[in-house]
Amino acid sequence: MYRLALFTTALLFGASAAAQEVLTLATTTSTDNSGLLAAIHPDFERSTGIRVKVIAKGTGASLQLGRDGNADVVLVHARAKEDEFIEAGFGTMRRDVMANDFVVVGPSADPAGARFATSASGALERIVAADHLFLSRGDGSGTHLKEQQIWRHAAVPTKTDTRSFVAGGRPTQFTSTRPAKGRYISIGQGMGKTIIMATERQAYTLVDRGTYYAFLLADPPRTDLAVVCEGDRMLANPYGVIAVNPKTHPNVNFAAAKKYIEWITSARVQGMIGRFRIDGKTLFHPAHESSH
């Protein structure tokens, strides 16, 4: 009982938390669910003695964690939103980290014939024309933003919902674009959950290749959906790392964030990212490819 009381006291006064330096990383579910971070973070902890606390949300939620000063560094994939974030003074020291690409996946029999489309928007047009079910992340994530970009390019009528709310004392808007007709479900969940649900419902969805491979090549496989569209330039998916600006949030652990950015963009760790494979398949291409 005495030990419990002592332990409780230590816990409540944060003594245990002060034992080791901690860096809070807000990142997307795709980097976390694919297993990449679990594979490389032990190296960071070994070389710097700093433990990384990973909060895995969508890109939108991760940037919000940065805006509120609840994270020290963010690793996300939505270039336009990243630039906004930096211009508004919330982020600094942005570096490219790696890239993979999005793929459209669906039932292996491809009932909508999306395989025969020559572009990503063409594939989505065929899914709407066939009136087949499409699942959307619907969570403001980088994947959701990419999906909306493709819908806007597709030759199908779309509708845009706008919700207004107040963030940081300023009115802000959250818009989401979706096809006006066809069977479309917005689930507001992470990448993993979306693949699982699309697999259960045999629906089409947009997924980053890293997470898709991680699910397809798991033992036993966690999805039987097949790639029906890939390679369109619009499907490129670059990831960037950004430190939360200490001028806006003086309390963030900027020194550790800087170390993390230097570490993840170093030639050695870039090599580790390039070598991260599941079943022999490369999931992410490092941004700073070494010459040999």
Partner: protein
């Protein structure tokens, strides 16, 4: 896809082999539940006894409010504590968001009404004659209060156990305030949600089994004490 039988078999294997992850999440869950139940009891039992024993204006309203708070959604408490502990929030300088102490604050808020309301019921249920008899036999009012407490101890203990069970089984506060950060704030329930999201049903089911085992033990204790320890 995995069949249910496969998942169940793998889950049992993970539990029986004391898988390091399962053990870590279970330990963290129990620590959070123990500490928050302890704090909530230190607050809720005295307050509950006060409400039950004293007459004061608005007593009925207080009891109604307590009973309403029993049903407060965990996500609402989670969100409230998140906004309080967020760096922009009023308690941001404590830097407790995404930490175990942060989760404990949320759980305490969640279960103080449970301990208080159940204590009120337990003490009120104790025969009014107990207090009168004690006073007649020469006890001072403090001693009489102690005797009433002793007579209602099984009901109060049931309150504490119900609160403990609530913390172990809830996911709203743990997920929103804790953030499910691996090695920091991941609990049995948040890890279960995450592994379902990732299609890792064997591990999710293993965690579910551990949760079930804890809930079952808690409920057996609860039944025992609700029966006044005589069953």
């Amino acid at each position: 896809m995995q069949t249910f039988k496969d998942a169940l078999e793998n889950a049992l294997r993970l539990v029986l082999s004391l898988d390091a992850n399962v053990v870590e999440y279970a330990q963290r869950t129990l620590l959070i539940a123990l500490v928050s139940t302890l704090i909530a009891s230190l607050i809720g039992i005295p307050v509950g006894m006060f409400i039950a024993e004293r007459r004061f204006p608005g007593k009925r309203a207080v009891v109604t409010l307590l009973n309403t708070l029993l049903a407060v959604p965990t996500v609402a408490v989670g969100l409230l504590v998140y906004t309080l502990l967020s760096r922009n929030g009023p308690l941001g300088s404590w830097e407790l968001l995404f930490t175990v102490p942060g989760i404990i604050i949320g759980e305490v808020l969640l279960i103080v009404p449970i301990v208080t309301a159940f204590t009120v019921t337990a003490v009120a249920r104790t025969d009014r004659d107990v207090r009168k008899t004690a006073l007649t036999l020469g006890a001072n009012s403090r001693q009489a209060l102690w005797i009433v407490f002793r007579e209602s101890r099984f009901g109060v203990l049931a309150a504490v156990i119900a609160a403990f069970g609530r913390v172990v089984s809830e996911v709203g506060v743990a997920m929103i305030v804790g953030g499910n950060a691996d090695e920091f704030t991941r609990t049995l329930t948040t890890a279960t949600v995450q592994n379902v999201d990732m299609g890792n049903f064997a591990l999710a089911l293993a965690l579910g089994l551990v949760l079930l085992a804890i809930s079952l033990s808690v409920n057996v204790l609860f039944q025992y004490f609700q029966g006044g320890g005589h069953q």
